[in-house]
């Protein structure tokens, strides 16, 4: 069996890639994909430690996460669509009618 | 129960007036304000309290005491009631509000319904301040008074109204914060010996020497700090020099009826609270620092009087002389004798009536002449004989003419302070304060002579004639009240002495 810490490291690595994407990409779709990476990093943890602990809580929660991620993407794409209609762009930095 | 009914009625009346049409609001507000007047006079006739509401062995009139909220280990109660100190102020509030509302009929011509609504709202809060016997209930009303006053100055005031309103608001709010912190420190230092924030319980505990150490400070230090914080907090309201600088601005900018309320009742909140908190709860600290407090008092008297001397604006003259008059109250309080503290309480009522009368009369003159500058006018006596007559009478009242309320009050205070045991050099302080009277007489006579007598001179394109009846009526009524209280001070004097006496009994316990 692969030791538990490897899973933790893998998940952390995937999570960090996601964070890197969030911080560097200004395209809304790329941003969404990066967030998906972060969510899936959590899923790796859940599934791996579900095995470690010998219960199915983690796996079940992994399914929940996927379903919610799908719903989130649905909302997100909708918002990005109206963003494109209003600003003719999917760059998140282009929408600046209000100051930060 | 009657106190709650009156406060609730006044609040509802305020709301009704606020949304009434402007046209009828003045008369409506006056009619509604008569109910608290009648109510408070009825309470006076039923009044059966004895002793000081905060101290042991007292019987409080119209008392309600029911649990409200609990805050940690402290019970907060809805506790109201009146004793011989608060009833006169309660009556003063209702009467003066009604008269001030009538005096507003001429000068207030914009957004009238809102003006009268706020006046009634302020009356309700003031009634609460003078009747509450629980700290939080009292504090709610104390702070609530600021809100209508801010609007009354800010909306209907003179050219610099915004500045004056903000200055008033900031000064008094900071003062409230200082007072609140001081009082809370005292409560925490009392530790387990109090289980409520009721003023009687706290006063009795502090007088019984239950104050312990708190926050690394000993009992004595805590008491001193609390006394100082509350003295500053209430001193701003009184106002005691050097915390008085908001007052002239507020008075000059405020419309006349608001000045009447400000000088007549709001300043008394400060002295009333000083008596209830500082001098009732911490008599030993008051005795210990009597000299310092007396210096504050005498400086207020003299400094206020000389500042008044230097003014040209009639309203500013009256405003500064209020600072001077309130100095007597502080002197009476710090003397810690029956006549001193009793006289101070009496002076609160007397000065409430007299300063209200002065401001109202100056307002009547301003309504007609559109100026308040001493140098601009002369010989007004020809054109407005009745008003001028009342103003002269009021001025003599201010100077302490016998048979007027001011004489009785100042006489009591001087008798009391002269024989004070707790205040060192009492005769010296009394003499210095009496010197203030001379200055008052000087500047009032000077101003009178310049403005009222001699040949009429005022360049206007409008005619200056007698004031309308509804302007003259309130000042006439007030003058009658001032004389009545001067001729028969026992109207209030007996109950005041009865309520003041317990304060002195264990006074100077340290």
């Amino acid at each position: 069996m692969v030791p538990a810490q490897w899973y933790l490291l893998l998940a952390a690595a995937v999570f960090c890639i996601g964070v890197f994407g969030v911080l560097t990409r200004s395209n809304a779709l790329m941003f969404l994909m990066s967030v998906e990476l972060m969510l899936n990093a959590a899923n790796i943890n859940f599934v791996a430690f579900s095995l470690q602990w010998g219960n199915v809580t983690g796996q079940t929660f992994g399914l929940f996460t996927m379903a919610i991620a799908a719903a989130e993407v649905a909302i997100g794409i909708g918002i990005i669509l109206v963003l494109y209609r209003n600003f003719r762009d999917t760059d998140v930095t282009s929408a600046t009618t209000m100051r930060w | 129960m009657i106190i709650e009914i009156l406060i609730a009625f006044t609040l509802v009346a305020a709301l009704a007036t606020f949304f009434a049409p402007d046209r009828v609001s003045g008369k409506l507000a006056f009619a509604l304000s008569l109910v608290p007047v009648v109510g408070s006079l009825y309470m006076w006739s039923l009044f059966d309290a004895s002793g000081n509401a905060l101290l042991q062995g007292s019987q409080v009139a119209f008392e309600t005491n029911m649990p409200w909220i609990s805050l940690g280990g402290y019970e907060i109660a809805w506790h109201v009631g009146l004793d011989g100190i608060s009833l006169p102020l309660f009556v003063l509030t209702t009467v003066l509000t009604s008269l001030a509302i009538v005096s507003a009929w001429t000068p207030i011509d914009t957004r009238a319904s809102q003006f009268y609504g706020l006046m009634l709202f302020m009356e309700a809060s003031l009634l609460g301040v003078f009747s509450a016997l629980d700290f939080f209930a009292w504090f709610v009303f104390w702070e609530a008074v600021l809100v209508p006053m801010y609007f009354l100055i800010g909306v209907w005031g003179g050219p610099r109204r915004k500045y004056a309103a903000i200055k008033f608001f900031v000064y008094t709010n900071v003062a409230s914060l200082a007072m609140f912190i001081g009082f809370m420190a005292l409560v925490f230092a009392l530790g387990d010996s109090v289980t409520s924030l009721g003023l009687p319980e706290i006063a009795q505990a502090t007088r019984a020497g239950e104050v312990g150490s708190y926050f690394g400070l000993g009992a004595g230090a805590i008491k001193t700090v609390a006394f100082a914080a509350m003295f500053v907090g209430f001193g701003v309201k009184v106002p005691i020099a050097p915390f008085h600088t908001w007052l002239p601005d507020a008075h000059v900018e405020a419309p006349t009826p608001v000045s009447v309320m400000l000088a007549g009742v709001l300043l008394k909140m400060g002295t009333y609270a000083l008596l209830r908190f500082n001098f009732t709860m911490l008599p030993d600290v008051a005795a210990q620092y009597a000299i310092i407090i007396a210096v504050f008092a005498v400086v207020s008297v003299i400094y206020g009087a000389f500042l008044a001397l230097a003014q040209q604006d009639l309203k500013r003259i009256v405003a500064y002389s209020s600072v001077s008059s309130m100095g007597y109250v502080i002197l009476g309080l710090v003397a810690y004798t029956l006549y001193g503290v009793g006289g101070a309480t009496f002076q609160m009522v007397a000065h409430g009536l007299i300063s209200g009368l002065m401001f109202m009369t100056v307002g009547v003159i301003y309504n007609t002449t559109h100026t308040r500058m001493v140098g601009d006018m002369s010989g007004l006596a020809d054109r407005m004989p009745v008003t001028v007559g009342i103003l002269v009478a009021a001025a003599f009242g201010y100077m302490g003419l016998p048979l007027m309320a001011g004489f009785a009050a100042e006489f009591f205070i001087f008798v009391g302070s002269f024989g004070s045991q707790t205040l060192p050099f009492a005769p010296l302080f009394t003499a210095l304060a009496m010197f203030g009277i001379v200055v008052v007489a000087g500047y009032l006579l000077f101003a009178m002579q310049r403005t009222l007598f001699g040949p009429f001179r005022l360049e206007t394109d409008y005619t200056v004639g007698p004031a309308p009846l509804h302007d003259k009526l309130p000042i006439a009524v007030l003058l009658l009240l001032v004389i009545a209280l001067g001729v028969a001070p026992e109207l209030f004097w007996g109950m005041i002495l009865d309520a003041v006496e317990p304060v002195l009994e264990t006074g100077g316990g340290a």
């Binding site: 972060m38 219960n55 929660f61 600003f87 009618t97 | 702070e143 609007f151 925490f188």
Partner: protein, 513 residues
């Protein structure tokens, strides 16, 4: 709050009602949402705003009535056998759930009533109300979550409709931009949140709060658990608009339709606190958690930074709505005292200070929603957004401006509304708990807040009008919503006793006292 025991025996623990009925406040909201979706699918183009808003308001009131009844009767509280645990311990019904449900339902009702006018003539009204109800459902579930799984699902159920609602005015650039920013930061923070959950699961092997607390006490992986707790705290910081995930709040509140701004800044914030209180008290209980993970210090820092940043930013704003947005961040800082002034061990002060924070959220629900509804009214009238645009408004609309003055002074802590007591009680309880410095910082911030709150009042009442207002109508719904909020804010001054008592009892139950 002791009603005759007759009422209590009618309820779940007496066996008269099945246990699931304890969730009635949530079910009422969920069924309303489904009913609205049904109406919408039968006639998708309906502009029958009265029907939609009416249904929403009635549903909210039913939910509120259930919460009030259960609270009075003692459902899920110590008097009738303690908390009711449902669905494999995923959800729990106790005093805290009922208290927060009452907040969400009252805010939702006010927002629904006000939206009647705000949405007049706009498209997709059915969706608007349905999404509002779904979000409210999610918030009540957040308050009842008893495992990290249900907490996450409920949080998303509350968040996803909120994203859509913020971007509801889809032809308005501000609204879309607000929706985008809210969504992006929301998605990011929920990813962080769920990763935090996965780390806690990795350490403890369970998601149930009680099991997590037990397992955390024995774990050796303190570092991993600590990172997990930190990330979970981040998720709550987003929901409550606290530092460091507060960036979205000014944008979202400013761009969103004003009733939604009110809904988010009152109800959604309260929901975030509801679940945060439960998670940190039950799952990361101070008595069980390893020494190394001291989240109280974290919340102390967050509370101080949040209240200071919110207040200073609010003081420098030019537009009223944005000022309210920042002030709502500042208010979140005060409420964070509820988590920051806790001490280990079974201190009875813990329940009191957290209860005071809950009571503040309750009062805040009325005064803050009312303030945003007033903004909705000015938007309805087409009045500008800056302070100057409000100059002299009181002469045209005295009643609404009087209500707004009440909200502002109450938010600042002057005794014209319940905000006076809730703030003083929060600070006083912090002092009793020994955290006088938190109370002092709170009091200083609160004094500062009077400056910018009174600016609105000054503009409306004291300044002279700089431009002519064209006030064509007096919208009934918006006025009704504002008046409900105003009366509620005022009545909470004399009637604060039952609120604080209920809140402190509910919070103490959480600490097992």
């Amino acid at each position: 709050m002791s009603l005759p025991s007759v009422t209590a025996t009618l309820l779940q623990s007496g066996g008269a009602l099945p246990e699931w009925t304890a969730l009635a406040p949530t079910l009422a909201l969920a069924l309303t949402a489904l009913a609205l979706l049904l109406v919408d699918s039968i006639s998708p183009e309906t502009k029958n705003n009265a029907l939609l808003a009416g249904t929403t308001a009635v549903g909210s009131f039913v939910s509120l009535a259930f919460s009030g009844w259960y609270l009075a009767a003692g459902t899920g509280q110590s008097g009738t056998g303690g908390e009711i645990v449902l669905y494999g311990e995923a959800l729990v019904v106790d005093g805290m759930y009922l208290f927060f449900s009452a907040i969400f339902a009252s805010v939702a009702a006010m927002v629904a009533i006000a939206s009647y006018d705000y949405l007049a003539g706009k498209e997709y009204q059915g969706e608007f109300y349905a999404l509002t109800m779904l979000a409210a459902t999610g918030m009540t579930l957040m308050a009842s979550a008893n495992s990290l799984a249900s907490a996450f699902v409920a949080l998303e159920l509350a968040s996803l409709p909120s994203y859509a609602l913020v971007a509801f005015l889809k032809k308005n650039k501000g609204s879309v931009e607000a929706g985008l920013k809210y969504f992006l930061i929301g998605a990011l923070s929920s990813a962080i949140f769920v990763f935090g959950i996965s780390l806690v699961y990795a350490v403890t092997g369970s998601l149930l709060f009680s099991d997590v607390a037990e397992a955390l006490g024995e774990t050796e992986l303190v570092g991993v658990a600590g990172v997990g707790v930190l990330m979970i705290a981040g998720g709550f910081a987003f929901k409550t608009a606290s530092v460091p995930f507060h960036f979205w709040a000014p944008e979202a509140y400013e761009g969103a339709p004003a009733p939604i701004s009110g809904f988010l800044s009152s109800a959604s914030k309260a929901a975030g606190f509801a679940v945060a209180f439960r998670v940190f008290v039950e799952a990361f209980s101070l008595s069980a958690i390893p020494e190394g993970i001291n989240w109280v210090i974290l919340f102390q820092i967050l509370a101080v930074v949040t209240m200071t940043l919110g207040n200073f930013a609010a003081a420098t704003q030019d537009t009223v709505k944005r000022m309210l947005a920042y002030s709502s961040i500042g208010q979140a800082g005060y409420v964070l005292i509820g988590l920051a002034a806790l001490a280990g061990g079974a201190s009875s002060q813990n329940g009191d200070v957290m209860g005071a924070a809950m009571a503040h959220l309750f009062v805040y629900g009325f005064m803050n929603t009312g303030a945003f509804l007033f903004i909705a009214l000015t938007e309805h009238w087409g009045i500008g957004r800056t302070f100057e645009d409000f100059n002299g408004l009181a002469s045209k609309a005295p009643m609404a401006c009087a209500a707004m003055a009440l909200f502002m002074f109450s938010l600042a802590g002057l005794p014209v509304g319940g905000g006076f007591f809730s703030k003083y009680f929060l600070f006083a309880n912090a002092v009793f708990a020994g955290f006088w410095w938190l109370a002092a910082l709170g009091a200083i911030n609160s004094a500062l807040s009077l400056f910018y709150y009174s600016r609105v009042v000054k503009a409306m009442w004291i300044e002279d009008a700089t431009s002519e207002f064209e006030i064509r109508s007096k919208p009934v719904g918006l006025y009704a919503g504002i008046m409900i909020a105003a009366v509620g804010t005022f009545l909470l001054l004399p009637a604060f006793g039952p609120i604080i008592e209920t809140a402190q009892t509910a919070a103490s139950a959480l600490f097992g006292a």
